[in-house]
């Protein structure tokens, strides 16, 4: 049994649980819709402001989806103490972290797909190359936030006020990547080239590398110790 096949087994189990209960998908879609409706009416953006407003709305949706997605990816393990069973199993903790990260990423991606559709609709954006170019900062931001939130969700799931702890810890730590993501997305939507947003993309890449590495290294201690 390789770590890859064990990690895939964990991922398959997470997806099966999600398909069966639908808890995350429904909640994430409802949340995305709520955020878009609130923001579009609160901001009422002028035609030239709609790129920045749309980018801001997308990243707000990304953060809320990330908190919910990461929580859902770990909550099934907290129920009945299953995280202990995984810690005692022969799976490498880094592979287990990768599986949980992949689950959180998939949950977030579903929410973001819904959010992008709603942004196009509510902020009157064109579906075309400009929108496609935003995919890069969004994918990088999603990976970074999932990496951070998965690690922190594993910690907070063991505390009494776990649901409250996760956003309190994750959102402030994500601020550098959030600023970079919003700036890059807004500029790309407005027609800027990748060379103009290089420094923001660089921050996102560095954030991803840092927290994916930290998560893989620290997950063992997060799930093992009592």
């Amino acid at each position: 049994m390789t770590n890859t096949s064990a990690a895939l087994a964990v991922l398959r189990k997470d997806l099966r649980l999600e398909v069966r209960t639908g808890q995350s998908t429904i909640a994430l879609f409802a949340l995305s819709l709520l955020i878009m409706v609130v923001l579009v009416f609160a901001l009422d953006p002028k035609p030239r402001e709609r790129f920045d407003a749309g980018a801001g709305a997308l990243w707000v949706a990304l953060i809320f989806a990330g908190v919910l997605g990461a929580t859902r990816a770990l909550v099934a393990e907290s129920e009945s103490g299953c995280i202990r069973a995984l810690a005692l199993s022969p799976i490498d903790p880094a592979a287990l972290y990768a599986a949980k990260l992949a689950s959180a990423l998939i949950f977030m991606a579903v929410a973001e797909a819904a959010a992008v559709g709603l942004i196009v609709l509510f902020f009157n954006l064109d579906v075309g190359p400009q929108l496609a170019r935003v995919a890069l900062p969004v994918v990088l931001g999603t990976l970074g936030f999932s990496a951070l939130a998965t690690l922190l969700a594993a910690i907070s799931s063991r505390t009494r006020a776990g649901d409250l702890m996760l956003p309190l810890l994750a959102v402030p730590m994500f601020i550098p990547a959030l600023i970079a993501g919003v700036k890059a997305s807004g500029a790309l939507l407005a027609g800027a080239g990748f060379s103009e947003v290089g420094k923001w993309i660089g921050i996102l890449v560095a954030f991803d590398a840092l927290f994916v590495t930290l998560g893989a290294l620290l997950f063992e201690y997060v799930i093992g110790e009592e």
Binding site: M1, S5, A6, A9, V10, K13, R16, L17, R20, T21, A76, E79, S80, G81, C82, R84, A85, L86, A87, L88, S89, P90, I91, D92, G224, E225, E226
Partner: protein, 230 residues
Amino acid sequence: MAEPVVETRGLTKSFGITPVLRGVDLRVFPSSVTCLIGANGAGKSTLLRILGGFGHPTTGTASVFGEHSHSMTPAIRRSIGMVTHQSWLYPNLTARENLEFYASIYGVRDVHRNIDQWLERSGLAAFAGERVRGFSRGMEQRLSLARAMIADPRLLLLDEPFSALDPQGVGFACGLIKSSVERGCAVMFTAHVALEIEGVNIDRYEMVRGRLSQYHEEVKRGRLRSLLGR
């Protein structure tokens, strides 16, 4: 003499300023059954949790198959089956799906035959397709025991394995312990009272406020008589 499967030396564990284990010395060998008897809060579960790798000793050492219990390799972890107060089962998966999941992460061969066998032995074959969420506590306990056995462990750590079980379930748990010992497995389990398993020699230890000592039935009877004023 065979190498001990479990060895603790001067093991202590404190949570904050509260000592839970006080200098526990214990050796457990293959093909043996060790029962830790004690009241609630005596430290039995804490000892098993440390042996399962969940927590460092405060002082002293705890080793499993010759490795520190808190830094076991995947191969050693694969050799341990554990049942705790929590079932470690996914409520929204069926009994069969739970066993399939654990069999897949342990790399069990001949998965379907193994799972069919454990569902049959645990008396849950008729409930294989039902979600665990709808199980009674006793059914969960049986499935939890089957889960712990799915990868043929060489060390079984069972925290109150007979709790919530009906007579048929107790028979299943006793049979499981007996067959495990016969194939060379070391079994450690906790209980509140001394138990007998037919055809199995049990090494009994008493745990009182974190201290471990040999259990003597005569002493216990004497204490009971004095408590009853006779």
